[in-house]
Symmetry: C2
Subunit: 326 residues, 2 copies
């Protein structure tokens, strides 16, 4: 029997989920749901596009709804709304608002007897798991998270909003010396500036004041002011040729001890991803399988990756995973 | 309320568990159980030593029994036996026999209404988790496991059994070129010899035939014949000074794709451990907490790391882990 999946939202992440579902033999894609006029949306896999309002009447057709919206305004509204009707999963990543989001999804999902997994992907998600496993095994250690080298879409968007900028791509890059110090188990205290640098590629309008644009970037509060930032002006052709992908990755490094601090242990989990949205979509899809199974087992309410037994992610049986992966 | 822990077996691993329990505020060590005369066993932490037979009458005193025996003969007998009385956990690592061991522990634990976690530690254990998570997120990829640089106790023991050998230490060392090829996402086919080398430090009896010892080592079937092996003869003083620790570690590297193979993703989990038994003991201790909690929640039977939600390992609440680690 196939798990019937719906995708809500069809940007980069929705397309990543679509690709991930297509390689899961135990899943089928019911359709993609969009706020746009569905007749204007072409779905890569040929699946049907529906207007989002169709979700009001498809409870029997969808086992899990994967919600691919933005954390700022979409998910706080969408995830609780649809958790009242479907098993749902999202990639909510506004860290400070997770407790409120969790509570809202929990209330809706419990009332409906559904599962709502929030904050899934790689950070939050796989990185969070590695922080938790490491802290649990070696209490009292210290975790470090490095992002990149990879494209930050939020920072790229921030540059695009500057007057005179046609296009921009911002790479977050971990500082090699900081990585080395952490990997050595030294537990250094690192400032924001010491952990990451930011490298920007900018296409400027013809005749734009590049010095002004550069200054506006490097002094931008929250986004760039606390970092060593490099700005490179390039042509549209170079942007398209060299920076059209959305690679990302990073590392969670945990350093702890045993024997009263006499023995050091370093745990590192790292990702090198050619496509951030396709990998994130793959994580969401594996956890969609878990959402469905947990609900079939009678569970309900809001969950995070912390609450989900790893075996629930795999299409294989307990016997098979013990034989091949244990 | 404190989780009352018993340790069965007091070798390197039992001592590692003892140290790990001592840094867990929610656990207390009831005692160490040994097949030796307990009056001859000095427990590092000052905990009480009991003869193993005392376990017949301590069901109300122990919440989880951590079994620190060998996989060859101890655990196949001990774990089912004590799963009939206690929540138990072991580090059984004879891969081919896991199905039988799982079935034996499952039957005993289910009958007693207890939890029996088997094959816990770092491999099997944390490495297994990383294989499962990666295969589940990116179906169709390939996992590689490298061990070392670290001391293999089984291989060290095999050398010690050779005539004329006083002491020996064997390091398993991953081949850097193999690691690089796997990390690049090339998915190479690697032979045993291409993945690891073996480096041996041997103290020989005075007047022993070192050429014969070296030949016996490098041609030993299963242990060394399939590897490039280096043998270094050293003095007892050098052995004690340079090779008294039990460091280990390694990496699970998974390489998978999305978008019909067009996008590559590499996931790596790696450990650098100053003490193999102390880290393994720390993993067992965290999972002992989970065993207790699962049993408190009414669950029973045999489990592996695959069956256990990560949150169950942490002494912190759901709210705390979501706030600090998600």
């Amino acid at each position: 029997m196939s798990i019937k999946v719906g995708i809500l939202g069809y940007g980069n992440l929705g397309r990543g989920v679509e690709k991930a579902v297509s390689v899961c033999d135990d899943m089928s894609l019911v359709g993609v749901f969009t706020r746009r006029d569905p007749s204007t949306v072409s779905i890569d896999s040929g699946a049907k596009a529906y207007h989002v309002d169709a979700l009001e009447n498809m409870k029997d057709d969808i086992d899990v709804l994967i919600i691919c919206g933005g954390s700022a305004t979409d998910l706080p509204e969408m995830t609780p709304k649809y958790a009242a009707m479907y098993n749902v999963i999202d990639s909510f990543d506004t860290h400070a608002n997770i407790p409120v989001h969790f509570a809202n999804v929990d209330a809706a999902a419990k009332k409906a007897g559904k599962i709502g997994i929030i904050s899934c992907g790689w950070d939050p998600g796989m990185f969070s798991l590695n922080r938790l496993y490491a802290h649990s095994v070696l209490p009292g250690g210290k975790d470090y998270t490095f992002w990149g080298k990879g494209v930050s879409q939020g920072h790229s968007d921030a540059i695009r909003r500057i007057e005179g900028v046609v296009d921009a791509r911002q790479y977050t890059v971990p500082v090699p010396e900081a990585l080395d110090a952490v990997r050595s188990g030294e537990n250094p205290e690192l400032t924001t500036r010491q952990k990451h640098t930011r490298v920007c590629y900018v296409v400027a309008e013809e005749g734009a004041d590049k010095a002004r644009i550069e200054k506006e970037i490097v002094t931008m509060p929250n986004y760039f002011a606390d970092y060593d930032t490099t700005v490179n002006f390039i042509s549209s052709e170079e942007m398209k040729r060299d920076h059209s992908g959305l690679p990302h990755g990073g590392s969670v490094i945990y350093s702890g001890t045993t024997d009263d601090g006499k023995k050091k242990h370093v745990i590192e989990y790292s990702l090198k991803l050619d496509s951030n949205p396709e990998f994130t979509g793959s994580v969401l899809t594996a956890y969609a399988r878990a959402a469905y199974r947990m609900n079939q087992n009678g569970d309900n309410g809001a969950k995070t990756v912390f609450d989900i037994a790893p075996a629930l992610l795999s299409p294989l049986s307990g016997e098979e995973i013990r034989a091949h992966m244990l």
